[in-house]
């Protein structure tokens, strides 16, 4: 295996390389420069008080340790607040249940391969998934509070929409990834759309769907803790009231409860996922 068989010399290679690397470096440098200019412009355009950044950690530290500590956990356990914790869980639970019930047909409609009607059902399904996902949950909550009034009903329906957007999308993707063989087979027996779905599609996606539902519960629960901030029921309401009244110790108590609840819910779903395996 002789050297130089490939026909180029080290000199050629060196020249090529230098040109190539220098060009690459130049492009990267220009891109970085442009980005820095853009970043500086953004800071100027939005009047960002960058000078306040230097004291930020100190200020946050002071605020957290002086005003928010010790966290008033007793407050968090008082009647109304404790009740709102239960309400949060309740909203989350119902929102997930109804959300999943709704997500099943929507995921089916929104799946290109097995949707019962490509001209009607598919666009409907897709639109439902996109629209529910494009609008942030808190905005949904505020709209629903106007239409339905304050209280957990608005929150529950917000969570239904959230589940639809999150679990629904993932479930639909699972449906689109199935093996079409059994679908064709069932269709060939003359079975209608619904039967085809139940006997050919559902068994294939069931396992993945359960995982998705558990994963969805996590983010649903997280959202439910904050919806009360705009009046849609649950613990968030007290977060708003305490911060508006500058009752930071109580606010911290609520925040800690929220964190504890979220962690507890995550541990639960972790075990649920284990059991499914």
């Amino acid at each position: 295996m002789a050297v130089g068989e490939h026909g180029i010399t080290v000199d050629d290679a060196r020249r090529d390389y230098r040109r190539f690397v220098n060009l690459g470096r130049l492009i990267k440098f220009i891109a970085l420069l442009l980005f820095c200019i853009f970043a500086v412009w953004t800071a100027w355009y939005m009047n960002m008080p960058l000078e306040r950044l230097s004291g930020m950690f100190g200020r946050i530290g002071t605020m957290v340790f002086n005003r928010m500590m010790p966290p008033d956990l007793d407050y968090a356990m008082t009647g109304n607040v404790f009740y709102s914790i239960l309400e949060t869980i309740e909203m989350s639970f119902l929102g997930t249940v109804y959300g999943v019930l709704l997500a099943v047909p929507v995921a089916w409609f929104g799946a290109w391969n097995v949707t019962p009607s490509r001209t009607i059902c598919y666009p409907l399904g897709r639109a439902a998934l996109v629209l529910s996902r494009a609008i942030p949950p808190i905005i949904w909550a505020m709209i629903l509070v106007v239409i339905l009034g304050f209280g957990p009903m608005a929150g529950t329906i917000t969570l239904v929409l959230l589940t639809l957007s999150f679990a629904g999308k993932l479930m639909s993707e699972q449906v689109e990834a199935i093996d079409m063989g059994p679908v064709e087979a069932i269709r060939a027996t003359g079975a209608g759309e619904i039967k085809t779905f139940v006997y050919a599609v559902l068994p294939q996606v069931k396992a993945a769907w359960i995982g998705i539902i558990i994963y969805n519960w996590d983010s649903s629960f997280r959202a439910s803790t904050i919806l009360g901030f705009v009046g849609a029921g649950g613990l968030g309401l007290y977060l708003r009231s305490t911060t508006q009244l500058l009752d930071y110790e109580r606010a911290m108590g609520i925040i800690l409860v929220v964190i504890a609840l979220v962690i507890a819910s995550e541990i639960l779903s972790h075990f649920a996922r284990r059991r499914i395996r």
Binding site: M1, V3, G4, E5, H6, G7, I8, T9, V10, A13, R14, Y17, F20
Partner: protein
């Protein structure tokens, strides 16, 4: 003074498995020494204990007067610069180009800034290219490593190891993942280049023909112990039998 001295090297893994049961080995000059043994005999562990990719349980490793096995983290990094390693699975960084992979051989001496910006020194780049030319992959230097064939990748591995200008090459079954013809080319290349640079090779193999074909000295390993250590021409049948356990003896 010997270049490499291994004294009483032992290794027991946390699982309880004992890979090395007391190895004594000396490497003097620029020779090719084959470590011959079956899978599980401890060849790979031996090589890795020398540059402490695997920490020995007991024993001493001395490279050119430096007690490698006793060095702290910083000292070990410095010592490793002098030991080039070539792997069975090539162990190249797939997403980087061939040239970058070869250049990674001088990371031991490069400053942190150079490592971050990947701005290697001109003479390092020069030397890398010459090594690439020597091993026959100069026309591939801008290709990503995962676009090469097995034989080509191993040549990159050889270039990378030599980039370090090492005092010794530790080679772990370099041709076990290659088909025989390519493997032979790689072995030829490796031994030739090492000879040109006057670097000794300690290579582990499980194939007798490879051992006899390329090495001047063969060390037989069985179940973590050296069963013979002799010049290749003196190795006879009974010595070869001894690397097999009673169960595999034909």
């Amino acid at each position: 003074m010997a270049l490499l001295e291994v004294v009483g090297l032992k290794k027991t893994y946390p699982t309880g498995e004992t890979a090395l049961r007391g190895i004594d080995l000396t490497v003097n000059g620029a020779e090719v020494i084959a470590v011959l043994g079956l899978s599980g005999s401890g060849k790979s562990t031996l090589l890795r204990c020398i540059n402490r990719l695997v920490e020995p349980s007991e024993g001493l490793v001395v490279l050119d007067g430096v007690r490698v096995s006793e060095l702290d983290r910083r000292g070990l990094q410095r010592a490793r610069r002098h030991m080039g390693m070539i792997f069975q699975e090539y162990n190249l960084v797939d997403r980087l180009t061939v040239l970058e992979n070869v250049l990674s051989g001088c990371l031991g001496v490069a400053s942190t800034w150079r490592a971050v910006t990947r701005a290697f020194r001109k003479d390092d780049i020069e030397r890398a290219m010459e090594l690439c030319s020597r091993v026959g992959i100069l026309d591939q230097i801008r290709k990503r490593a995962d676009q090469l064939s097995g034989g080509q990748r191993q040549r990159v591995g050889i270039a990378r190891a030599l980039m370090q200008q090492p005092k010794i090459l530790l080679v772990d079954e370099p041709t076990s993942s290659l088909d025989p013809k390519i493997g032979a080319e790689v072995m030829d290349l490796m031994c030739a280049v090492a000879d040109e640079h006057n670097v000794p090779i300690l290579v582990s193999v499980h194939d007798l023909d490879v051992a006899t074909g390329y090495s001047k000295r063969i060390v037989g390993l069985r179940e973590g112990r050296i069963v013979f250590d002799a010049e290749t021409r003196e190795v006879d049948r009974s010595m070869l039998q001894s690397i097999y356990t009673d169960q595999d003896a034909a």
